[in-house]
């Protein structure tokens, strides 16, 4: 009950962040268009990062293709939108398609050694990027697809940055709840058992491979659905944000936030989205600084920011 109230309070605060409160007599002018855009981008990134967290933090696998799955969702939604398909359908289709691809990739890879999934996703990531870039007739190639329409919800246009933010926030809240429910369910507890002691989990009748496979596919689906929101958010897509580099950054962001913790992906996505804004002045040095921070963090606090926060809270109350 307490968790539920905290979550509700957080949701209300998040909903109010971009809003202009001066009309209510409060001295808070809200965020400008660009600020709202960054906030929406944070939510979309966090959805994809939640998927990575499920794969990395709970199922103990490695995925190097999350950006490619985001790309599949984004291209599917953009192309379907141009043919007049409603957003709801493309959103569901993005999730379903990436789920199925996840099963198809994960099934053979998980038969073998632990790291094979990393290599299969690595290969898949590059293959997707080649298709995005080369199939000019469908994807627009390096020129990309422009003028992607924002969805219309029950006749309500979501063209406005703030309305669209609320729309994305609502979807994020639902998806977060679903993931929380999965992690808390017996199904999700099996994951924790798996991570803590795979041998014991297996001896207790947990089908390790099936659970890992489903976790991977579900994580991919979160990527696909994030992509489905990403396309109407940025309104223009080209292959570069779906290349191998961004996929690697997804891994880094989840671990920086704290893999295997529920808040980790949100913190990590926040760092990944906001840091480039703050380090604007550093320009090309930004990635270098970021990667160096990640390495130092891995050596000193492998639990990520959330893990670090937990340790410091525990220290304060002995």
């Amino acid at each position: 009950m307490r968790t539920f109230l905290i979550a509700l309070a957080l949701l209300v605060v998040l909903a109010l962040v971009p809003a202009d409160l001066t009309g209510l007599g409060l001295p808070y002018p809200g965020l400008k268009r660009y600020g709202t855009y960054i906030l929406t981008l944070w939510l979309v990134t966090a959805i994809a990062a939640m998927g990575v967290n499920l794969i990395v933090g709970y199922a103990g696998q490695e995925t190097l293709a999350q950006a490619a799955f985001v790309g599949i969702g984004a291209y599917l939604t953009a192309i379907a939108g141009k043919h007049g398909v409603p957003f709801g359908i493309s959103f569901a289709a993005s999730g379903l398609l990436t789920f199925v691809i996840g099963i198809a990739l994960g099934f053979p890879a998980l038969r073998v050694q632990k790291h094979y999934l990393a290599f299969v996703t690595l290969a898949f990531s590059v293959l997707c990027w080649l298709v995005f870039r080369n199939e000019t007739a469908i994807t627009g190639g390096v020129m990309g697809l422009r003028d992607i329409e924002r969805p219309i919800l029950f006749g309500l246009k979501l063209r406005n940055a703030q309305t669209f933010y609320w729309f994305v926030l609502a979807i994020t809240a639902v998806m977060t709840f679903v993931l929380w429910w999965i992690v808390q369910s017996p199904w999700g507890r099996a994951f924790t058992a798996l991570r803590e002691n795979p041998l014991r989990a297996e001896s207790l009748g947990v089908d390790v491979r099936l659970y890992t496979l489903l976790a991977f596919a579900l994580g991919c689906a979160y990527g696909g659905m994030a992509g489905s929101l990403y396309a109407p958010l940025v309104e223009f897509i080209d292959p570069s944000p779906f290349a191998l580099g961004p996929s690697l950054l997804f891994m880094l962001m989840v671990v920086i936030g704290g893999s295997g913790t529920f808040a980790g992906p949100f913190v990590g996505a926040g760092v990944a989205v906001l840091l480039p804004e703050w380090l604007r002045a550093w320009e090309t040095w930004y990635l270098l600084i970021y990667a160096a921070l990640v390495m130092i963090m891995m050596a000193l606090f492998p639990g990520g920011i959330v893990g670090l926060a937990r340790v410091s809270v525990r220290k304060r109350q002995p």
């Binding site: 038969r111 293959l127 690697l248 891994m251 990640v294």
Partner: protein
């Protein structure tokens, strides 16, 4: 037919370079369970050591030696102690993340410190065509690449199988605990593996840079090909990595000639997927107990 023969020889030459990168990758994995996601960058960087040395006025051959030594110092010893060392007992994920981050650091430093442009890199032998058989001409540079790579691989095989240290390294790779009981200095053997990996990466760098030019972003493709070669050949085998490297090199060259250049990069990846589907232990690999 003669076209095919030329393509095959060119393929073997690039394949031998890929094999160098794949062998180091496999060795690291065997002895210290380190999956080096920065392996591609390890092959990209040494060429820039050589370029910097040449800028400082060091002659070509000496610059290559400097590049190999710098690579062994920084990408071998420093990598072992500063990056892998603190993470060895922390499980796999922190190490994976750290090598990914290291790859980004190496790539970005070359771009920011040296140049974002592709750099011309001199060849070992002049790029002159010689006629082998009537109608079959190959560039001397390619023969040079093939010979040097094969000598390096042969030397390594001799070292691993024919010397005491080499056999101790193999023992460490197969079973560190037993090796330690039998008096093998396991720590030192692991360091040697890191040094050898860096040396092989530097050799690959010197050989590949004249062909593809030296560029900060080369690591992505090279790393991917090294992974593919290692897995296709058999992850737990040095000779698997050699076979995998040669196969990928030949396929890559054939694909560039007969398949569209746009999808040339896709061929090794499709090979990887096929191998994982139908022969997951690799072409030359032994079946291993499945990791839980």
């Amino acid at each position: 037919m003669t076209d095919l023969l030329q393509l095959l020889i060119a393929g073997l030459a690039t394949g031998a370079i890929y094999a160098l990168a794949a062998i180091g990758f496999t060795l690291l994995w065997q002895t210290s369970q380190t999956i080096n996601f920065a392996q591609g960058e390890f092959v990209m960087v040494p060429a820039f050591f050589a370029l910097i040395a040449m800028k400082l006025g060091i002659p070509y051959v000496a610059a290559l030696v400097v590049a190999i030594l710098m690579s062994m110092l920084l990408l071998g010893a420093a990598f072992r102690y500063a990056v892998v060392g603190p993470l060895l007992n922390r499980g796999v994920l922190p190490l994976v993340i750290s090598t990914i981050a290291l790859g980004i650091i190496l790539k970005e430093s070359v771009k920011d410190i040296y140049s974002a442009e592709a750099q011309v890199f001199p060849t070992l032998l002049p790029d002159r065509n010689v006629t082998l058989l009537p109608g079959v001409t190959i560039s001397l540079a390619q023969i040079g690449v093939l010979v040097v790579a094969l000598i390096t691989i042969g030397g390594l095989q001799w070292f691993l199988a024919g010397t005491r240290t080499g056999r101790q390294m193999q023992a460490t790779a197969q079973n560190p605990t037993v090796a330690r009981i039998l008096g093998v200095p396991v720590e030192r053997m692991i360091l040697y593996t890191f040094l050898i990996n860096a040396g092989l990466a530097a050799m690959a760098s010197i050989l590949v840079s004249p062909i593809y030019l030296a560029k900060f972003s080369n690591g992505e493709t090279l790393g991917l090909i090294a992974f593919v070669a290692a897995i296709v050949g058999g992850f737990n085998q040095v000779r698997g990595a050699i076979a995998g490297g040669l196969l990928v090199g030949v396929l890559d060259n054939l694909a560039a000639a007969y398949v569209s250049t746009a999808y040339r990069q896709a061929i090794p990846l499709i090979l990887l997927v096929l191998v994982i589907l139908f022969r997951p232990q690799g072409l030359l690999g032994r079946k291993e107990e499945r990791a839980v």
